[in-house]
């Protein structure tokens, strides 16, 4: 019955880890509301997570919008609904693809670098050094990253949405010969503020998930270079899984 034992152990480890992530999250929340606020760190992280991700987000979003226009055109032509391509692109981008793809890309880019940086700080005792200088490491390192993730993900998603719609427009008008005015009108006629806001709300939650998981993984890295590597992989994999899982439930419950 060795395999039963293995499964049991794996489940126990998983539950234990989820519990520790929750404890870490609650600790971070508690420190969030206690002064001082490390503004300099927050801005630095906003740059790291947000500004430095703009390039990849631009490419990701414009090509997603472009391919979405091509694909929906192919499908919709079969029942003469080509005129709805703009609508589909706009709705898919704002409600779903904008926030989720931005979340996944930031998890891969900023989440990985966060976990690697904090993991290295852990194994080289820099996190201990912070504590010995009477500075709480969660307050100094994790809180700014969580705030930055929470703020920057919605902003990146706005860029994503705009470029996605623009990419769809380019393909619709230049490749598929749609009328520019009609395409634009179709894009925005059926788009409600709620579609945009629900997407941005999800993005903020994804930002929170990425920052909390990556910080947690970095903080608990152990065992030198190999440990930092594992922490980084773990941070990206868990963030991505949680983004996809929470995406379903957020969508189902709230909208």
């Amino acid at each position: 019955m060795n395999w039963l034992e293995d499964i049991g152990l794996a489940v126990a480890h998983f539950i234990e880890e989820m519990g520790r992530i929750m404890v870490f999250f609650i600790e971070t929340l508690l420190w969030l509301f206690r002064p001082p606020l490390y503004l300099r760190n927050i801005f630095k992280q906003m740059e790291e997570i947000g500004v430095n991700s703009v390039g990849v987000v631009i490419i990701m979003a414009s090509f997603t919008g472009m391919v979405l226009a091509l694909q929906s055109y192919t499908g919709f032509k079969r029942f003469n609904a080509e005129s709805l391509v703009g609508t589909v692109v706009a709705l898919s981008m704002t409600r779903e693809l904008g926030p989720v793809l931005t979340g996944l890309i930031v998890a891969g880019r900023a989440g990985a670098s966060m976990a690697a940086e904090l993991g290295t700080m852990r194994v080289t005792e820099q996190i201990d050094a912070l504590a010995t200088m009477a500075t709480n490491p969660i307050k100094y390192l994790a809180v700014p990253r969580v705030i930055a993730g929470f703020i920057m993900l919605p902003l990146l998603t706005i860029i994503s949405n705009m470029l996605g719609i623009f990419g769809g427009y380019l393909v619709g008008v230049k490749v598929l010969d749609a009328n520019p005015v009609v395409y634009m009108r179709r894009s925005f006629d059926y788009l409600e503020m709620n579609d945009v806001f629900s997407g941005l709300f999800k993005a903020a939650i994804f930002g929170l998930i990425i920052a909390v998981i990556s910080c947690y993984k970095g903080f608990y890295a152990a065992g030198g270079a190999e440990g930092v590597g594992k922490a980084t992989t773990g941070a990206v994999v868990i963030s991505m899984m949680l983004i996809l899982i929470s995406d379903y439930f957020l969508t189902a419950i709230l909208f």
Partner: protein, 248 residues
């Protein structure tokens, strides 16, 4: 100044500290020696509250580090400076920002004033003029000395040294030894160092304590340690593979 009383700590099934008792007097330089894995690092981490014991107390200036929480731990920690084995400098900050880190966090000094204090502390460790360098550009010995400058930035009463000479060439190791002695004489600090470098231990210690299997097996002045009859200590200080200490 520091009293470690009946300290127990286990990680999982592994008992690391099994009833450590040690008293360090004010202004004294205590060196704890012991083999790798004997629990020296765990002991020093308990003294500054990075680890919580399973049982026992660490009394520092009348307060029990093991029982304090949150802000009280931080207040007590302001009495400390610690030099880490790998110096543990913050990679993202320049040398002067590293040295002045605690000042920035806990005082109202302006950046200009902090920089001036940092410059002064760097001069004390023989590294004047490197304020604007980044930690990655420093050699191992320089990193340790910057770490020492950072440890003394807040004029601590207690200095902890985690393997201060490990990984350095013999000459640089001696420079660090001299600095440790200088710190004690000039700043009148109480210091606790852990090491397995006996040359360093004899040079910097007022008293030496040996940790073995989670207990202090002998405490004495360097002279007493050199002439000890305890076979465990004898084997360790002469560096012999043969003797009562089991090599794992």
């Amino acid at each position: 100044m520091i009293q470690v009383i009946n300290l127990y700590k286990a990680f999982g099934n592994k008992k690391v500290l099994a009833g450590v008792n040690l008293e360090i007097k004010k202004g004294e330089s205590m060196v704890v020696i012991g083999g790798s894995g004997s629990g020296k690092s765990v002991l020093i981490k308990h003294i500054i509250g990075l680890l919580k014991p399973d049982k026992g107390s660490i009394i520092i200036a009348g307060k029990d580090m093991a029982k304090l929480k949150g802000g009280d731990v931080d207040n007590l920690r302001k009495k400390f400076g610690m030099l880490f084995q790998g110096a543990a400098l913050f990679d993202s900050l320049s040398v002067w920002e590293n040295v002045g880190f605690a000042l920035k966090q806990h005082t109202m000094l302006s950046d200009k004033e902090i920089r001036a204090v940092a410059g002064e502390k760097l001069k004390m460790v023989g590294l004047a003029g490197i304020e604007d360098m980044m930690p990655v550009d420093l050699s191992g010995g320089m990193r340790k000395r910057v770490g020492l400058a950072r440890a003394i930035a807040m004029d601590p009463e207690i200095l902890l040294y985690d393997e201060p000479t490990t990984g350095l060439d013999p000459i640089m190791a001696d420079v660090i030894n001299d600095l440790i002695i200088e710190m004690r004489e000039k700043l009148k600090v109480t210091s606790v160092a852990i090491t397995h470098d006996m040359v360093s231990a004899y040079k910097i210690a007022d008293r030496i304590a040996m940790l073995y299997e989670g207990k202090i097996v002998e405490v004495g002045t360097p002279d007493e340690i050199k002439h000890t009859k305890n076979p465990l200590v004898k084997q360790f200080i002469t560096g012999s593979a043969v003797g009562p200490i089991k090599v794992g």
